[in-house]
């Protein structure tokens, strides 16, 4: 294959450009002391590993239940250093979809300075909750959308409940949204690591500050008082760092 001089010239220019670009990129990453951070999430029901489609004991009262779909948004991850300064990870909106029991959230380029606290929000902040932009995992066509124009569900749990005393099946629908139901969860970092693991206990949603019996309350969607109960519960021991 013959190469004309003009081709060679283009190639040399390209090489110079590539070398230059790679030098620049090295510089910037070294100055900022950044590294990737991984958050692992495992879902459980009591002491058992969570799986959709499997049958578990009801958390409150008698009977069994099966979950079809379980998802929640965590957002606005913040790292706080020893001086109390916050670093807010930009555009951090992550949908935890537990169609798989173990999930991994990768956060590129966080500053590795001396942070000793990590926090994130369950839910979506007011500004993004009113937007139809695709930011992070926010997607106005997914099943976390409340309505054709009204914000996101922060937590979605759908399934079927089989009471012990009858043959009937009761549909379980918990869609928790509304701006007032965001909750920030904070964790102390004792030993810094490139990855942290969290365990979610589904039972905590129903058996914590408030007890929610599937027999009495199988549907929580627009009732603000009921939604707040679940929000209180997810702020209290629902997601624990391991």
């Amino acid at each position: 294959m013959r190469i004309s001089p003009i081709h060679l010239k283009i190639k040399i220019d390209a090489i110079v450009l590539i070398l230059f670009a790679s030098l620049c990129s090295c510089d910037s990453s070294e100055n900022n002391h950044q590294q990737a951070l991984t958050l692992n999430f495992d879902a459980a029901i009591g002491n058992q590993r969570f799986h959709t489609g499997e049958i578990f004991e009801a958390p409150v009262g008698s009977g069994t239940f099966r979950i079809e779909r379980f998802k929640l948004y965590i957002s606005n991850l913040i790292l706080t250093n020893v001086d109390g300064e916050d670093y807010l990870v930009p555009n951090s909106y992550h949908l935890l979809d537990f169609s798989e029991p173990s999930l991994q959230v990768d956060i590129p380029n966080v500053p590795v300075d001396n942070y000793n606290r990590l926090s994130f929000m369950i839910g979506v902040d007011e500004v993004s909750n009113k937007s139809i932009d695709h930011v992070g995992d926010l997607d106005p066509t997914n099943d976390m959308v409340w309505n054709w124009n009204v914000g996101y569900k922060f937590l979605l749990l759908e399934g079927n409940y089989f009471p012990s005393e009858s043959n009937e099946t009761i549909g379980l629908v918990y869609h928790i949204g509304f701006d007032e139901n965001t909750r920030r969860l904070e964790y102390e970092i004792k030993e810094k690591s490139p990855s942290y693991s969290f365990r979610l206990n589904v039972n905590s949603l129903f058996d914590s500050q408030h007890q929610i019996d599937f027999n009495e309350l199988s549907n929580i969607t627009f009732s603000k008082a009921d939604a707040r109960k679940v929000a209180d519960n997810y702020s209290d021991g629902f997601i624990q760092m391991e």
Binding site: R69, H134, I170, L172, V173
Partner: protein, 371 residues
């Protein structure tokens, strides 16, 4: 130092030279510019099958060519007719020799945003889907090797495949890729609903009422009425959710004894029995009859099913089981919309019709205006 530096430099030039040589040997097809509405969201196109002008044209030709059926009597387009938003108006699809397939032909609009195909979800990509109806003895009945032979025997197709994929060795993967490329371009985005989505205008009171019911899960405790359609038919696209198996639901058509396997055939899980693909509702007024077995002729029958005909089974979707507009109902599945509300939902569904889509010449039969 100069030597050590020069060495990799020369290597790099070598690599680039090779790249250039390779490019000059192969045909490079023209990238196809896909115009998708911003509010339809993200989609994936397999890296090994980027859309090209040549590929889309080839796929369109294959889609309409009866050569791909055993007795050359039908093509993909026989069951997927453009004027009916790529359905056939029949209760059940017909294969070669008039054999009936136990499934209703699905509309194939906006499949770019879908993640699994067929009513039972057995295909994980459009490439994976494309060859199955050709090979299925009850559908087009042509063993794929025979299809390859037929196409190889045509000098015209040999040239078209070469111009698209740069190979003289056309194979079944190339047939699948071309068909998938054409299908990815079948985008319905010009309904009155799309105009409403971008302008907030153009809907009658009744259509607006229907839209609100469509997109609301009822909550009697809070006095919120809803038809909960969007619990399965998502916002904007109105098809099923494309994450995992979320786009497959048991919508209560049959009691446990008559429940078809559906998704269970794919996942082998009892908890998926009776779940079928949630189809798009785009152009729904054109795609009668409805459901996987075409059992309902009209939208009124469909709404009446959801309103008071839902059959119980273990895998009935909780969002259907749970949804009611009647206070105090507990042991019965009953949505309880009024006649006026049902009419409003149907009025909204009719705004999903897209005349431009069914008249778009890029999607039409390329053989029709030849010679």
């Amino acid at each position: 130092m100069p030597k050590a530096f020069r060495h990799p430099y020369i290597l790099l030039i070598g690599v680039l030279l090779l790249t250039f040589c390779k490019e000059e040997d192969t045909i490079v097809a023209t990238p196809y510019e896909l115009n998708t509405p911003f509010n339809f969201g993200f989609y994936d196109i397999p890296e090994d099958n980027p859309l090209t002008e040549e590929g889309v044209q080839l796929g369109r030709r294959l889609f309409y060519d009866k050569l791909l059926s055993k007795d050359q009597s039908i093509s993909c387009a026989s069951c997927h007719q453009q004027n009916l938003a790529f359905t056939d108006g029949k209760k059940l699809a017909l294969g070669i020799n008039g054999s009936q397939i136990p499934r209703n032909s699905m509309s194939i609009a906006n499949l770019l945003w879908s993640n699994r195909f067929f009513w039972d979800g057995r295909a994980i990509s459009l490439e994976d889907q494309a060859l199955q109806p050709i090979e299925n003895p009850a559908e087009m009945g042509l063993p794929i090797e025979e299809a390859v032979q037929r196409l190889r025997a045509s000098s015209e197709y040999r040239a078209l495949f070469f111009n698209t994929f740069g190979t003289h060795n056309l194979d079944k993967e190339h047939i699948a890729k071309a068909l998938a490329q054409f299908q990815r371009t079948l985008i319905s985005q010009d309904s009155r609903y799309d105009v409403f989505l971008t302008s907030g205008k153009g809907f009658t009171e009744q259509e607006l009422h229907g839209l609100n019911l469509f997109f609301t899960h009822p909550d009697t405790k809070s006095g919120v009425r809803g038809a909960n359609c969007f619990d399965c038919h998502r916002n904007i696209l109105t098809d099923g959710f494309p994450s995992g198996f979320d786009g497959f639901r048991n919508n209560g058509l049959d009691n446990p004894n008559n429940l078809k396997d559906g998704l269970m055939k794919v996942t082998k899980s009892e908890s998926d029995k009776g779940k079928m693909k949630v189809p798009t509702l785009r152009n729904i007024a054109l795609t009668s009859p409805y459901m996987h077995d075409g059992r309902f002729e009209t939208l009124e029958e469909v709404l009446s099913h959801y309103n008071e005909g839902v059959k119980e089974s273990k895998t009935l979707d909780p969002l259907i089981r749970n949804a009611t507009n009647i206070e105090g109902i507990h042991d019965e599945v009953k949505l309880g919309l009024t006649d006026q509300e049902i009419a409003a939902v149907i009025a909204f569904l009719k705004t999903l019709t897209d005349q431009k889509f069914i008249q778009n010449e890029d999607f039409s039969d390329p053989f029709e205006n030849q010679d």
